[in-house]
């Protein structure tokens, strides 16, 4: 029997998802023995034309990481979708937009303006910017178009499953691969991680008071942090209440709060909204009913950059999706 064909591809990402696969170490043996890798541009010398030559649906599963923000990436994922029976969005960027998705607070013009014109170290008196088609003395050179908006994978193609995390941890990768190889899969659209929130799995959960109440918000870099105690109970914003579990509490292990790279649990429709309402619900300030508007505003202002914090990993997949731009 022939082995199932597997493809790996990366879009606007950092390479961390590729490292995550490499960090499987000896476990990857099981994977490579069971499958035939037909595309992995970072590791093996296969070209796009090899994929084009395949029959539709010939690839059993494509793992695609990174968000989609250039023409080249879009064409490639559309091609892989046609050739694959199953597509797995691998890692935060493909799943929910990831950190590069923060670029949806700006657009192509804004990025170009900053990078090629106003950057303190750039000397560009004639206002040159990269172009998709350039004539040089010897011929023509092309670059892929850079889009205004960062897209999650399921905003451009149909996605079957999601492997969350920045980057996904080894055990979840192996669980997913095993489930695929054994044909033991949950319904389409499932996020292949815990159903619980990170809070529910957290070692510090026991330190969380029965009724969590805080009266002020502190910033982690300006606060002594108790390494045993729930961050929220210390007044430090931790997004573990809203975030899907399964990460192994990696950041909490380093005594730092969660920033939501696993995206929301199944019950949560919009990560940022839910996070904000959760924080609001644990505020309990003496005499809050009598607070003036000014005092309320001051309290709200104490949450610096709420959009960037609550949507840090998930802006492109949120109901906001992007900032509205003039042009």
């Amino acid at each position: 029997m022939s082995k199932p064909k597997v493809a790996f591809y990366w879009c606007a990402s950092c390479g961390g998802c590729e490292e995550a696969v490499v960090d499987l170490a000896e476990d990857i043996l099981k994977v490579v023995e069971a499958v035939e890798i037909v595309l992995w541009p970072v590791a093996l010398d296969f070209k796009r034309k090899d994929v084009e030559a395949m029959a539709d649906g010939e690839i059993a599963v494509s793992f695609i990481n990174g968000a989609v923000r250039t023409e080249e990436q879009l064409e490639m994922v559309e091609l892989l979708r046609r050739k694959s029976q199953m597509v797995v969005a691998f890692g935060s960027c493909a799943h929910i937009g990831g950190i590069p998705g923060l670029a949806n607070f700006s657009n192509r013009k804004g990025v170009f303006e900053r990078v090629y014109h106003t950057s303190e170290s750039t000397s560009n008196p004639s206002g040159v910017v990269p172009k998709t088609r350039v004539t040089v003395p010897e011929g023509e050179l092309t670059l892929p178009e850079f889009f205004d908006t960062v897209n999650t994978l399921d905003q451009v193609i149909d996605v079957d499953y999601y492997l969350p995390g920045c980057a996904p941890p080894a055990d979840l990768i192996m669980d997913a691969v095993t489930a695929i190889l054994e044909g033991n899969l949950p319904p389409k659209g499932t996020v292949l991680a815990s159903k619980k929130s990170l809070c529910d799995e957290c070692d510090r959960n026991d330190s969380k008071p029965e009724k969590l109440q805080i009266s002020e918000l502190k910033r982690v870099h300006l606060t002594e942090v108790d390494p045993e105690k729930c961050f929220l109970a210390q007044g430090i914003i931790c997004l573990g209440m809203v975030t899907r579990g399964g990460c192994g509490q990696r950041c909490v292990n380093a005594n730092m709060p969660c920033r939501g790279c696993f995206g929301p649990t199944d019950e949560v429709k919009d990560f940022g909204l839910k996070a904000m309402s959760s924080i609001a619900s644990i505020f309990n300030i003496e005499g809050e009913k009598d607070m003036s508007e000014e005092e309320t505003q001051k309290l709200i202002d104490s949450i610096v950059d709420p959009a960037g914090l609550f949507y840090m990993y998930n802006l492109p997949s949120s109901i906001l999706r992007r900032r509205k731009m003039e042009d």
Binding site: E19, A20, V32, D45, V128, R250, C251
Partner: protein, 488 residues
């Protein structure tokens, strides 16, 4: 009308990239362009963010060297808040950093650039990968590579929470300390790392230096550029990865500039071209003269050989001995031989291992005073660090609440972007004559940039060839070789 040869995508390079080589009517190289087709705009979308989140945002520039961005960002925050980390915190940061430099250099030598030498530059493409390396060095040695990389990466996981995108850096220190049990383990790993570095050096001696053909390639003219060099040095002008002054030497090896990271804007400017998303930095006080080398061109180089050229030596004994030997064989300082970057990388691998051991053995890392909480009002902060691929600058301006107003980054590989273009062109001109192009020649063109271990605009890193390697070594030798041959 001339012809165009495209190498796309570049394999065994960490990131997206393509080379376009134009031939003239006689089939000789008219010009070569290295294009980077990707951009993500971190400088823009960092605006408005909380400064303290920057050490968690900027590592996403690169999943292979996230530790570099994390540490550089933490240093920029120290400067932003005017807060000095306690001695233990500084040592913990440098310990993590030494582990990182070691594992990253190991990755490059064995998986990316090394195969060119170890297997041979003109070997068939199918052999010029880690598999070919295994055949040459033996499986046992190759499994050592995997083991030591995993152990050194475990140090980062333990202290940084995660090895891909660590989170422990804060202005004024680190979020987590070292336990005595951890320390014992770190010492053991560091000792193994030193032994491994000796092994790597011996391998380079036997396979590369022992082969006249390879040595001729290294010192040959097609892989040579006479440029300025930049690197961080300590108070004795010895190479330092984590901290120090930026030192620049001219193509003759004389000190041209020595400055604090905070003054980088007085020394560096970036040039923009229409045909690539990457920018091209140059020494402001020499000026941009195009893609040319020499004393009058502001083009400078960074990363291993550049760092060693810019320094007077290494701060640890074994690395110092290797440093001296390298320059003796290359015929003195500075060495302009691009392929000697591989050699310098091994000298640095030795230094990283020795420094890791020094820090692990230092009892002060057990001290629980690992943070100074900032009290100052933030305005502007600049961090500088030596990434595996060169000098890295993070520059933030904030409002009084510590919200980023402006962020400027000069990412390690970007410093080398003009020189990489020049090296590719020169190699292509030297190797491709009268339209004769074969795979081995194209590989020798690719070697011109692989020496830099480039990670283009830190755009999208990748790990060519590494995964199959792990498979092969561990268990089923024959079978796995077959899988790879099948795929490669």
């Amino acid at each position: 009308m001339g012809n165009k040869i495209t190498i796309d995508p570049i394999t065994r390079l960490e990131g997206h990239g393509k080379i376009e080589i134009f031939l003239d009517d006689d089939g000789n190289v008219a010009n070569a362009y290295l294009q980077i087709p990707e951009l993500r705009g971190f400088e823009k979308f960092s605006e408005g963010r909380r400064a303290e989140e920057m050490p968690r945002i900027t590592p996403k520039i690169c999943g292979v060297c996230p530790t570099t961005h994390h540490m550089c960002s933490a240093k920029a925050l120290d400067d932003l808040y005017g807060v000095e980390p306690p001695p233990a915190a500084k040592k913990i940061r440098e310990l993590i950093y030494s582990a990182f430099m070691f594992e990253d250099h190991t990755l490059h030598f064995y998986f990316l650039g090394g195969p060119d030498f170890v297997v041979g530059p003109m070997a068939p493409a199918a052999d010029r990968n880690i598999l070919g390396v295994i055949q040459k060095v033996g499986l046992e040695a190759a499994s050592e590579v995997i083991a030591i990389r995993r152990k050194t990466r475990d140090i980062i996981t333990k202290l940084g929470g995660r090895v891909i995108h660590p989170v422990c850096g804060l202005p004024g220190g680190v979020s987590k300390g070292v336990t005595p049990e951890d320390r014992e383990e770190f010492i053991q790993t560091a000792r193994e790392a030193v032994e491994f570095a000796k092994f790597s050096m011996q391998l380079f001696n036997d396979i590369v230096l022992g082969n006249k053909e390879y040595v001729d390639v290294i010192v040959g003219d097609i892989y040579k550029h006479s440029t300025y060099y930049m690197g961080l040095v300590d108070e004795n002008n010895k190479t330092n990865f984590y901290d120090g002054m930026v030192r620049v030497v001219d193509p003759e090896g004389n000190e041209f500039a020595k400055f604090k990271g905070q003054d980088y804007l007085d020394h560096i400017d970036e040039h923009v071209e229409e045909w690539s998303y990457i920018k091209f930095p140059y020494l402001k006080n020499v000026g941009w003269k195009g893609f040319v080398d020499g004393m009058d061109s502001g083009v400078y180089r960074v990363a291993p050989l550049a760092r060693l050229n810019a320094a007077d030596g290494m701060a640890t004994p074994l690395a110092q001995a290797e440093y001296e030997r390298m320059y003796e064989i290359l015929g003195g300082k500075p060495a302009h031989n691009t392929l000697a970057f591989h050699w310098a990388r091994l000298v640095e691998q030795m230094y990283a291992a020795e420094r890791l051991l020094e820090l692990a053995e230092d009892e002060e890392i057990l001290c629980d005073h690992i943070r100074n909480i900032p009290t100052g009002t933030p305005t502007e902060g600049i961090g500088v660090i030596e990434a595996p691929r060169g000098t890295l600058y993070h520059h933030y301006k904030t409002d009084e609440k510590g919200v980023i107003q402006k962020a400027n980054l000069i990412v390690a590989t970007v410093n080398n972007s003009p020189a990489i273009c020049m090296s590719v062109k020169k190699a292509a001109q030297g190797l491709i004559k009268n339209g004769e192009v074969n795979d081995g020649l194209l590989n020798m063109v690719e070697m011109a940039f692989r020496a830099y271990d480039p990670c283009m605009a830190c755009a999208t890193h990748s790990l060519p060839g590494e995964t199959p390697l792990i498979v092969t070594i561990k268990d089923n030798k024959g079978d796995v070789v077959k899988v790879l041959q099948q795929n490669g």
